[in-house]
Assembly symmetry: C2
Homo-oligomer: 390 residues x 2
C-alpha cells in the first residue's frame, strides 16, 4: 500500500430541498459578495435561478452574475470571471450546474489570486497557493468536481484540454439534491454514469494488489452505480437511484476509491484530447468508447484485478477459463454502455479516422510524455487503441 494524503474538506448537504438552505449556508460563512456562475441557462427554466436570487435578497448577499459556461469550459470565460472577481471584490464563487461550471469556477478561484494567466496552472508551469472559496449547487451527476481536487479547462485558442490537481481546487461546500438531476437528458445522464464509473475504474485498474479496503469500496461503488444506472434510464425520477448516482459522483472522485493506490488515469488523459479537439464530444461518451479498447489491451498485466471486476461488478460466472471470463467482463461493461445509449466507436462520435495520428500525438503532449500505468501507452499504443475503435 502506498502512502497517501486524504483530504476532503468539502461540506456536503445531501438530499431533498437542500438548495433552499443556500442563504443560510452563505450566511454561516459570512459571505458578502458572490460571483454567481452558471451555464447555458437551464437553471432559469427549472426555477433554481429564481430561488437563488430570492435567497440572495433575503440574506442581503450582493452578487455579480456570469453565465454562459459551455461543456469543456473555456479559458476565455475564465479570464472574464477573474476580471469580475478582482473588480467586484468577490468573496465566494457560487457554481450552479455540473462539472463544467464547477471547473470554470475553480479556475477563476485560483486565477483571481494571481496576476498571470491561469492556463499556466493547467500546464503545470505554476502551482496555486491560494483561492477564493467555491460553493456548489450541483445539477448533473458526472464529473465529481464538487469534491475533487481537479480542474479541467480547454484553451479556446489551441483546443488543448488540460487538467491539474491541487488542494486549492477543493470546494468549500456543495449542495446535492438528487431531485435537481431528474431533468438531465437520458444522453447526459448516461455520459455522467460513464464518467462516475470511470473515475473509480481508473483508480482500481492500477498497480498493486495490497489495498483490500480501497478495492472493496471501489468494487461496491461500481456495482451500485451500474444497478442504479439501469433504473434511472427507465425511471428518471427514481429518487433513490438518482441519489445513489449523485453520491457516487462525489465519492468516486474525491480520493476515497484510490487511497493507497498509484494511478494516473490513462484513459481520461486520452479522452481529454478527443473532447478537447472535438468540442461536440461529451467526456463520458468519449470514455465509453475508449475504455473497453484500453482494457482489452491491458488486462493481461493485471489478471487478478480484472477477474474480480468481471465476477464482483459485472456478475460474470466464474469458469476454468479466467481469461475468457475477463473478456466477458469487459464485454459486459461495454454492453451496459450500449444499453444506456453510449457509442462504441469514434465514427459514432463523428470523428473521422484521419484524426487518429493527431489525437495520439497530442495525447503524448506532442512527444513529451508516455502514459505509464499497468501498461505503458506510448504513441504507437495510442494509435493501436484508437485504430481498434475507429
Amino acid at each position: 500500500m502506498e502512502n497517501f494524503i486524504y483530504y476532503t474538506p468539502t461540506k456536503i448537504f445531501f438530499g431533498k430541498k437542500q438548495e433552499e438552505k443556500l442563504g443560510e449556508i452563505l450566511e454561516s460563512y459570512s459571505v458578502k459578495k458572490v460571483l454567481f456562475h452558471y451555464g447555458q441557462g437551464s437553471i432559469k427554466k427549472s426555477g433554481l435561478y429564481d430561488s437563488i436570487l430570492r435567497q440572495f435578497k433575503a440574506y442581503k448577499i450582493n452578487f455579480v452574475e456570469l453565465g454562459g459556461v459551455s461543456p469543456n469550459p473555456k479559458l476565455s470565460l475564465v479570464l472574464e470571471g477573474i476580471k469580475l472577481c478582482k473588480q467586484e471584490k468577490v468573496d465566494l464563487i457560487l457554481a450552479v450546474g455540473g462539472g463544467s461550471v464547477i471547473d470554470s469556477a475553480k479556475s477563476i478561484a485560483v486565477g483571481a489570486k494571481v496576476d498571470f494567466n491561469p492556463w499556466l496552472f493547467q500546464t503545470q508551469e505554476k502551482t496555486p497557493i491560494d483561492h477564493i472559496p467555491v460553493g456548489v449547487i450541483l445539477t448533473i451527476a458526472a464529473a465529481g468536481s464538487d469534491m475533487s481536487n481537479s480542474c479541467v479547462i480547454t484553451n479556446d485558442l489551441t483546443s488543448e484540454k488540460r487538467g491539474f490537481t491541487s488542494e486549492e481546487n477543493r470546494c468549500l461546500f456543495a449542495i446535492l439534491n438528487p431531485e435537481l438531476t431528474y431533468t438531465v437528458s437520458p444522453y447526459q445522464t448516461a455520459c455522467g454514469i460513464v464518467d462516475i464509473l470511470m473515475h473509480t475504474l481508473e483508480r482500481y485498474f492500477s498497480l498493486g494488489e495490497d489495498t483490500p479496503l480501497t478495492d472493496s469500496i471501489a468494487l461496491g461503488l461500481m456495482k451500485s452505480v451500474i444497478e442504479a444506472g439501469k433504473i434511472v434510464m427507465k425511471d428518471p425520477q427514481n429518487y433513490n437511484a438518482r441519489a445513489t448516482i449523485l453520491w457516487a459522483n462525489s465519492l468516486s472522485h474525491n480520493g476515497l476509491t484510490g487511497c493507497g493506490r498509484d494511478f494516473i488515469m490513462s484513459v481520461h488523459q486520452l479522452e481529454h484530447e478527443i473532447s478537447g479537439m472535438f468540442d461536440s464530444v461529451a467526456h463520458g461518451a468519449g470514455l465509453a468508447v475508449l475504455w473497453p479498447a484500453w482494457a482489452r489491451k491491458a488486462y493481461k498485466a493485471s489478471i487478478n484485478r480484472f477477474k474480480r471486476f468481471a465476477y464482483e461488478v459485472m456478475g460474470i460466472p466464474s469458469t476454468d477459463n479466467s481469461e475468457a471470463d475477463i473478456l466477458k467482463g469487459i464485454d459486459a461493461l461495454q454492453q451496459f454502455f450500449k444499453e444506456i445509449g453510449m457509442p462504441t466507436t469514434l465514427r459514432e462520435l463523428n470523428i473521422d479516422e484521419s484524426a487518429i495520428p493527431t489525437l495520439a500525438f497530442n495525447a503524448m503532449f506532442k512527444g513529451k510524455r508516455v502514459l505509464k500505468d499497468i501498461i505503458t501507452v506510448d504513441y504507437d499504443t495510442a494509435i493501436e487503441i484508437l485504430e481498434s475503435i475507429k
Copy 2:
C-alpha cells in the same frame, strides 16, 4: 434515503514515517504553542515521544505537556487540560495515542473556549460553538476518533460515561502510520478490531433498505477488517493488514458508512454503561459480549440486512432456511470474536450478574429514554439482553 450532511475536514497523512512530518505540518498551520497530550507513557518507550520533542525544537514550537490519560478518559484530567490551555494560550492540542487521548483532547478543546464545566456538553445541556484545533498522531486502531465528530468522556465522580457529537469535535489533521500500531498488544488489537467493526455494524443495522452505495461500502469494510484481523493476530507486523485496519478505523466512524441512514448505535449506548461502571472493561470487549445478544433479539426486524451480512461478510452459504443462515452469520461473528481472544459473557468481563439491573437502569438514563432502532431497547429488553450473556 435520509438527507444527510457529510463533513470530514480532517486531513489524513497515512503511511510509513508520516509522524516525521509533524514539525512541517505544525509549521504549515502556523502553530506556536502546543498542548502535548498523551496517555500512560508507552510513547516514551517506543521513541515517539523523543521524536516529537526533537521536531518541536527543530521547528521552534513551544509546548506544555499533559500525560496520564487513562482508558475511559476522565473529566478530572480534562479540567486540568482546560486550565493549562487557558493559562498558556495554547493554539493546538496534539493528541498522541488512541481514542481515549483524542477524546480527552477534544473535550479540552471545546472546554477551553467556555467558562463552564464541559461535562454539560456530554450531557447535551450545552452545545459547543468553538474549539482549539486538535492534531493527532494515532497509535491504536480502534475508536476512529481521529476522523469522527464524537467525544466520549467518563465523569470520575458519578462513573457515568457519555458521548456527544458535534462538528466542533472534528480534528484538524491526523497522522496514521500503521507501523506505530505493531506493538499494540494482541488483546488491545482485538478490542480495536471489534470497535471498528461495530461502528459500521451499528450503522448498517438500522432502518431502511434504500442505501445501496452506503451498504456496499459498509459490507466491504466489515469483510476487509475481518480478513485483516485474522492476519494481524498471527502476524502483528504485517504492514498491509495493519494498514487496512488502521484506515478502516477512520472510515468506519467518520460518517461514510452511515450516509443516508438513520441510526442510533444502541449497542454502543449499552456498552458505555458497562465500561463507565467497570473501569477495567475495554470498550471493544464489552461490545463483543453485547452485540451477538442484541443481534439475536433484533434480526427478525431486519431480515434482508441480516441475510446480506451473513452471506457477504461472514461467507455463510445460502440455504432455503434464511433464518438459520442469519443465525449462523451471527454465530460466525461471535466465533471470530472468540478466535481473536474476546470474551462472550459478562462473567468473563468480571461483572457479576447482580450488576445487571443497575446497568440496564443507567443505560435508560435512569428511566429517561429508550433506545429505538430496528428494535426498541427499553429497560426490560436491556435486562433480557444482559441476562442472556451473564
